[in-house]
C-alpha cells in the first residue's frame, strides 16, 4: 500500500531491498526491542491486576513533560534522518550539523527527564514505593540509559562526520548509528502513551 509513493527526490538510488547500516546493529536493536517488548507487556499485565493503583498514580505523572519529550525525540530522529540523507547526496557540512542538532534534542530530553525525576525523587518516590512507580521508574530509566547510549553514538558519528568519513561512498557507520537512535525514538513512542496516558 505504501510502495512507490515514498520516493523522495533526494533519496539515493538504492538497489532494491537494501538494509541500511550493519547487520550486527540490527541484531542488537532486535535484542533490545525484545527486552522492551517483554517489559511493556509485563507493565500491561501487572496493571491488569492493579488497575485502581495504576490509574491513581498515573495521574501524578507529568503528561506535558512526557509529550514534550516525545516531540524532542521525534525531532532528534528527524535531524538524524536529514544527516543520513545529506550523506547520500554528499552535502558534507550538513552531516555533522544535523547530527549535532539531533544530539541537542537528546540533551533536551535528558534535561526534561531530570526535572521530572527530581520532582518524583524529591517527593520520596522510589522503585520500592509501589508496583506502578516500580514500572514507571524502571521503564523510563531503562529508556533514559538508552537515550544516553544513543547520544554517545551520535557523538562518535559527529566526530567521524567532521573528519569527512561519511558520504555517498560510505554511509555504513552513520546508518548503523542512526538506526539505533531511531530505535530509542520508537521505544518512547510506545512507552509514552502506555505509561503516561492510557487508562
Amino acid at each position: 500500500m505504501c510502495a512507490m509513493t515514498a520516493i523522495a527526490p533526494t533519496a539515493p538510488e538504492t538497489p532494491a531491498r537494501r538494509l541500511p547500516g550493519d547487520l550486527a546493529i540490527w541484531f542488537f536493536i532486535l535484542a533490545e526491542m525484545l527486552a522492551f517488548a517483554v517489559f511493556f507487556s509485563a507493565y500491561a499485565f501487572a496493571r491488569a491486576t492493579h488497575v485502581a493503583e495504576f490509574n491513581l498514580y498515573q495521574q501524578t505523572l507529568d503528561r506535558n513533560l512526557g509529550a514534550l519529550n516525545t516531540v524532542l525525540l521525534i525531532t532528534g530522529s528527524w535531524f538524524v534522518v536529514l544527516a543520513v540523507q545529506a550523506a547520500h547526496r554528499d552535502d558534507r557540512p550538513a552531516i555533522p550539523r544535523n547530527i549535532l542538532l539531533g544530539f541537542l534534542c537528546g540533551a533536551g530530553f535528558l534535561a526534561v527527564k531530570v526535572v521530572e525525576y527530581a520532582a518524583k525523587f524529591g517527593a520520596g518516590i522510589s522503585m520500592s514505593t509501589n508496583t506502578f512507580y516500580m514500572f514507571y521508574i524502571s521503564l523510563t530509566f531503562f529508556h533514559f540509559m538508552h537515550v544516553i547510549l544513543g547520544m554517545v553514538i551520535l557523538a562518535i558519528l559527529w566526530v567521524q562526520a567532521r573528519k569527512g568519513v561519511y558520504g555517498s561512498h560510505d554511509a555504513h557507520g552513520l546508518e548503523s548509528g542512526a538506526a539505533y537512535w531511531h530505535m530509542v525514538d520508537l521505544l518512547w513512542i510506545v512507552l509514552f502513551p502506555l505509561v503516561y496516558v492510557m487508562r
Binding site: 550486527a24 531503562f142 546508518e175
Partner: protein, 142 residues
Amino acid sequence: MSGAFTKSMARNIFYGGTVFFFLLFLALSFDTHSQLPKRDMRANITPQIAEGKKLWEVNNCIGCHTLMGEGAYFAPELGNVVVRYGDEGTKAFIQARPKDGIPGRRSMPQFNFTDEQLDAIVAFLKHVNSINDANWPPNDQG
C-alpha cells in the same frame, strides 16, 4: 540483498553493549543498597548473631540445608526453622542428634555445640527469619 555485516561493528557493539548493561546493573545494585537497610534488619545484628553466622559457616550447614532457598537440597530449609520448631525445639533437635546416625535414614551429625553456641545459632536463624524476603517460603514447611 541485505546490508553489510562487519566484524568491527560486531566488536564495537559487543564492547558497548557489555559496558552499557554492566552500568545498568551497577545502577540497580546501587539502588538496592539504598533500600536494603529497610529489609535486611541490619540494625538488629548483635555480636551473638555474628557468632551464629560464623558457626553456620564453619560447620558447613549450607552443605545439606538451604537458607532462604540457597544451598543443598538434602535437608530442610532453615530460614524459617524457628517457626517450625521454636527456639528451644531447634536447640533440642541439634543436641539430640545421635553420634553414629540413624540406621537407614538421613541424620544430622552431632556437632557437640556448647549452650552459648546453640544460643548463637538460634539467634542467627531468628535473625534470618526476620529478614523481609518477599514472603518466601510459601508455607512453614519451607
